[in-house]
Symmetry: D2
Subunit: 343 residues, 4 copies
Amino acid sequence: MIRVGVVGATGYAGAELVRILQGHPEAELSVITSRQYAGTAFSDIYPALYGIADMLCESFRTEDICEKADIIFTALPHKLPMEIVPELLKKGKRVVDLSADFRFRDVKRYESAYQPHCAKELSEKAAYGLSEIYREEIQSADIIGNPGCYPTSVLLPLIPLIRENLIDTETIICDSKSGVSGAGRSPSVTSLYSEVAESFKPYKVAAHRHNPEMDEVLSRESGKEVSITFVPHLLPMSRGMLTTGYANLARTAKEAEIRECLQHFYQGRQFVRILPEGKIPNTLHVRSSNFCDIGCKIHGKRLILVSAIDNLVKGAAGQAVQNMNIMCGLDESSGLDWVPCPL
Amino acid sequence: MIRVGVVGATGYAGAELVRILQGHPEAELSVITSRQYAGTAFSDIYPALYGIADMLCESFRTEDICEKADIIFTALPHKLPMEIVPELLKKGKRVVDLSADFRFRDVKRYESAYQPHCAKELSEKAAYGLSEIYREEIQSADIIGNPGCYPTSVLLPLIPLIRENLIDTETIICDSKSGVSGAGRSPSVTSLYSEVAESFKPYKVAAHRHNPEMDEVLSRESGKEVSITFVPHLLPMSRGMLTTGYANLARTAKEAEIRECLQHFYQGRQFVRILPEGKIPNTLHVRSSNFCDIGCKIHGKRLILVSAIDNLVKGAAGQAVQNMNIMCGLDESSGLDWVPCPL
Amino acid sequence: MIRVGVVGATGYAGAELVRILQGHPEAELSVITSRQYAGTAFSDIYPALYGIADMLCESFRTEDICEKADIIFTALPHKLPMEIVPELLKKGKRVVDLSADFRFRDVKRYESAYQPHCAKELSEKAAYGLSEIYREEIQSADIIGNPGCYPTSVLLPLIPLIRENLIDTETIICDSKSGVSGAGRSPSVTSLYSEVAESFKPYKVAAHRHNPEMDEVLSRESGKEVSITFVPHLLPMSRGMLTTGYANLARTAKEAEIRECLQHFYQGRQFVRILPEGKIPNTLHVRSSNFCDIGCKIHGKRLILVSAIDNLVKGAAGQAVQNMNIMCGLDESSGLDWVPCPL
Amino acid sequence: MIRVGVVGATGYAGAELVRILQGHPEAELSVITSRQYAGTAFSDIYPALYGIADMLCESFRTEDICEKADIIFTALPHKLPMEIVPELLKKGKRVVDLSADFRFRDVKRYESAYQPHCAKELSEKAAYGLSEIYREEIQSADIIGNPGCYPTSVLLPLIPLIRENLIDTETIICDSKSGVSGAGRSPSVTSLYSEVAESFKPYKVAAHRHNPEMDEVLSRESGKEVSITFVPHLLPMSRGMLTTGYANLARTAKEAEIRECLQHFYQGRQFVRILPEGKIPNTLHVRSSNFCDIGCKIHGKRLILVSAIDNLVKGAAGQAVQNMNIMCGLDESSGLDWVPCPL
């Protein structure tokens, strides 16, 4: 049994980590922390887990958590992880960080989108935790920058095609839509039920912090600077994220060829499902699961890619556990292979 | 034109007042105030009204508001109105207060549910603004305690039957369900979209502050102390309130007789619709309107009453404007008779 | 491995059976049938299970299904099961029927609510599949009448208290609210998204077919004819059911005593969670799980009971699998003990 | 008073016409028809209008309707209008048709997307009812092809910019999202609440029938064949439509210039609101209103346009009434200028 800790267990991503790890056959959730709820039982905050996860939330103390856990998930707002992770690594722990702090190899890019980085050397050593793409780096890394939810949904369909030079990277537009749990559990007017129901809108148009994250990865993958147009939108639903991507084909290609390229790339990776012709991704079909469903369609010279994930699972906690599995040499799907609900 | 002011115009009830008053043919909305948003255009907070209600929110100052308005709506959290209303009345203004501060004639009842009352004499002079029931008191009053949303949905079906001694007041149970806009616009975890969607629950079981308000009115109406069992629930919807009431019949009666009693009582009062046999109230059918739809059914010796309102309209701002109309000798439905949406 | 078949696998309850059985460690889902979708892959109808449950739906043929399965779930509209189940039993199969056909021991009661019964002798031998209450009958029965969703949510909190003579059975009122998946997957105007969103209403007021089902069980339990007042309502949500029950206490009792009675009764039955003081059931907390959460509160001489279930799981497919586990001598929670989502 | 008839009054667009026309100060709704509900009171189907629109639905008979109405709205599935409209025109009536039958000047384009056209000459005489753009044609036309909801949301932001040669028409991509009421009131599995909630998906990717409609108009406007990439999506909401459009700028331009071009074009047209910098359209802000809100943003050489409408109002019934107003020389906003709800 791997002893596991979750720092920041009472935000939505943290709680989802608790859910998944509690059911993980090879992990033992031995410590959870929460600034706001220290001393409170987890199930008092999330009563769905009453009788299942009644453990108390603790205050974060490096010593305590290092004593109890070998793998540590940090599910905190950015800026905090880079302050505490170096200490955890020094104590020989391995960390999967769900914030943006370790997602960038180019620290300057991080700093222009976020704030000055106080653990630059670590940042350069971190693996970008897009499980299906960077499996090898993840295996050997001690610190994983777990991808943002939008980048996960954007990059999984694009990278195989970019590697095969099938698309013109100067023409990429990603129109993404996210369920409101992505905004977290902090109370804010814009996340109130009455403001979200019957509401749909873009936000941070071409100005979202996940944009430089995607650009960095896509630039690395394509060997030249890529800057995609990215517009996120807020959906009136709790969980789910769908990206509709547009790009010009770099050469004439048929839909079947695109699909085959994707299928071949993801052969044997059970969490990416390339849908057959005529089938279209839908957030409901991946809800609460670690799947990323991908579909495609060609219109003239333009390729349309559609991907759907659960923003809290494949877009956060699920992929984080998948990364832990890879790091620890477990089956990649261990603890993640529950049967999803039909509706 | 009646010059009207709204104090606390940026909460949900206040905003709904602005919506209704902007379309009122005989009222001119001349001043709105907001502590939080003083200096901001109303339409910056509620962009639906961009181009329609772009007036600036002001800080509340008695002098200013009294200069600009003759009728003043106070849409503030309880405790604040009793501090400012006496001054407004002294200046010769008439006030419709949407908080609990002036709903009780028995100040002690108020004080046991809320806090010490600092304007007791006014409280005794206030009219309880249940428009269809207390029209005469409302006409001549200078201060109206606008009813709570739950009491409105509970009292409208019950009072006519109690006056006719048709039900046993010791057996009344009201199981009420409210849309989440009733919790207001203040950010709180429990009103977040992700906490409300797919969620249904009772809250403050037999402990809600609207309970003593209903009890006072029902006791007055029936001439003896009444204490109903009241359980409010939270619905995953923005607007709407439905109460299912249960009471034993005081004597044998047929459904038709009950319906007739209600129809007779509400004859000519266009906002209360007594539904014909086989029709059942539904929040969707009264959404955004000032209607209260009422249906009934008998099961053995037990009467089942169902009423539906929009909690922000008939349960708050709509009834408040209806009361203003009555106070000012206007047609009761002036500014409130838009055609509701079919869906 | 137990070989299992599902007849009627493409309705919502049937699909939920497929979901649960696919993840059951001791069952092998060997055959599924569907009139409407014979020849179609299950995952074409429910793409969430693409790659997981791609088996073809077959037409129902007694021979075929009996060859492939030992335990058969029938998830069909009432009337059909009583026509096919006798044949299945003759072939030595054991059946869990999710319709109303085998829920009544008193066939006349069934016939007055539904239609003439064509397998009366079987009906009398059937066990009522309320797992926590009738475990012993279930163990030895060959045919289980799986309870309705409303009866499950109504009976679980009431039966322990009735057995202890704690409540006056003449005063029981149950105000129940159900998510719309309870209406099934057949297209109908009343289940359309645009008719359900922002809509809340009672239906079949004191006239629902689950009423006689509850009355029969409660009469049996209390030893005298019981007829409760039951009002179902439709919630704007997919999954979830909550019942608020009201009854007069038969004698003075404190809340703690009621809670203790329930806790004692359900000791060791992991799917019924008696919530501690101050905690209130919520459909979101049991979503997609087999839990029934129960809370209580006393108001004067009146007891208020609240129970929450997922209508498709504990209210249908989950309890059906729980019954299979009991019938087959498996751990009662086998295949049902996934960790529920925190939101 | 203009005497008005609605053919097909019980679909969602038809019902919305009834709602709007009932409140229209210069129109008298004198006849409504419905195949399915002939003989039934409108308010039996849409109880929100109980006491307001209790008139009976009639069977459609040319004679009857022509006797009672001067302006006729046809809100029927395509193919039916072209069969009945010629007769209505012959009797001297003027018609606003909400189907696709009279939206195309190029009948071949219609026929390749729909079916053979049986009233070609009429089709060529029809005005395309995009009120703000084709006001003059509408004024004098006897038959209006009321635009589709998607085309309305796509064309309003694009046309002014195309007329000013500000965008490269070969690069237009429109990613549109619609509430589910757009699918109508006919029962279908895909519109069931349980299939739509928590679901978001594209459909008819680059294959929607509104695509040729837009292409025809854009080609006409730009003087060369335009073929945009159009992907519609289904939102989990009742009412609302938002389009995010992408196009390369034809020349260097600043955001302010784009905004100014739009503002200038729509000067004095109250239903199109060009939002100031930093404000973004949101379906909730136009719900139940006839507004089209438009915002813009530049990313590199790419222009991002966002427009929001209510699909049933500006996208159907509201624009149809606006067209009637124009045809009849009334104030364009007559009957359409209610104050929208803040939430």
